[in-house]
Symmetry: C2
Subunit: 290 residues, 2 copies
Amino acid sequence: MGLHTRINTAVETAIRVGQGGTAPAKLSDALHYACTPGGARIRPTILVSVAMACGDDSPEMTNAAAAALELIHCASLVHDDLPCFDDADYRRGKPSVHRAYSEPLAVLTGDSLIILAFEILARAAQHSPDRAVRLIRTLSRQSGMPHGICAGQGWESEAKIDLSAYHRSKTGALFIAATQMGAIAAGQDEEPWFELGARIGEAFQVADDLRDALYDSETLGKPVGQDDLHGRPNAVTVLGVDGAKSRLRDILSGAIASIPSCPGEAQLAEMVRLQAERLTPVPTTRAKAG
Amino acid sequence: MGLHTRINTAVETAIRVGQGGTAPAKLSDALHYACTPGGARIRPTILVSVAMACGDDSPEMTNAAAAALELIHCASLVHDDLPCFDDADYRRGKPSVHRAYSEPLAVLTGDSLIILAFEILARAAQHSPDRAVRLIRTLSRQSGMPHGICAGQGWESEAKIDLSAYHRSKTGALFIAATQMGAIAAGQDEEPWFELGARIGEAFQVADDLRDALYDSETLGKPVGQDDLHGRPNAVTVLGVDGAKSRLRDILSGAIASIPSCPGEAQLAEMVRLQAERLTPVPTTRAKAG
């Protein structure tokens, strides 16, 4: 089974746990709608890749971790798209959840997916209670307050933004969760994996800023120029397009250099290189900047 | 330390975990605002009472469980008050979170409190990984989809409501969580405690319907008549005021009869009787019905 199929199967299996017999039908449908078909599934791909590099001795634990991380990511997208945040009509080329269903159902979909993520990990404790508890601790730390993606969004309501805390929590947090949860799922210490996650997160942020500046909304399947619109800081605004591209390359070299010694180190470096190529934007239709 | 102080201390301690040094200040404040000063803290009171009836051999685990349950309850209130649901301007006699802060911060406050609840339980795993995992499994099941409070809210978006599933998930779920988590925190099997939680939940639903019909919004500190307004089912509409009061008494007798045999059985029965007196509404200012 390829990595992409493995991850999609894990996500589908997790969603079914949230869709029992007497569940309200629309909310039940919305859970599935919000998570499938997925985007690049980049966070769980990194998670599973790290677990495989560490030996992947408990594949069920790895699958649960990958699904839980992706559910939290999808929940954040559903809530970020709400009218009170980005007010986005489209996501991944189809109507956003509050457009396809309703605003109440979008709030509940996000809430349900967050809770489901932790339920999936608690169920996986049958394979190893110790790893399950560490996965829950890591996922909650990187998702909530004071350092997770909720904190990242929270910074956007402040008059004065701590830029480094903002970027680390808004984008970096779930990549740190990805590398650390991959290590934990495979029975390894998570601390040495912090830096790889943080660097991938930084690269992703710069790449996202570049895409936001260079692509149109049809290519991206979501609104562009949201940073300008909401006055959020952006690498392209600070460094220019060429400067941001050069910064992206430096960060990715650093990411590869930071990979801890492990059985699958070479393959993992190759995966990061592949993700780097995916991340590097090539303008297709019209350039908005640079 | 009295029960109320013990619970409030546990909640305050939990909130501080979500308020680290570099956290965004408004969201950090909003977490505290949403949970303090508390209401009756009825769910954690039941949880701690059950744990004490079972011997309470790990008070830190009980405190973590009580705090986690209350955080989930507070999160649900914050999200229920949002403009797209009840659009409530007041809660517990002060402005609702989206009125006091903003709608984005209210969404994030709910999300952060949900995540914090699971983080608190994962941290408590140092005392017993097995109990922590069972607490997380129980809390997630009674909070999310398909049977938890998210499902309960989800039913309100359906054209045809499964009334029994609706009530069990909307109100019953967190009372079932209360009795079962109390038992788990004290190292006992949770299954025998399901019925007590379900019956207390049912009583609470009928009492809430009675208060909604008999009291004005100033007395309650929240809007009344929301069920009529939103076309939601209500015990007073079906049974009348006297019928609903009589039903409330029957349910509470059943609740007391269902208490499993345990060292503190008599005291626990007394606690349920006390809660029953609190629940039974006495009209004060003007009667809206009956």
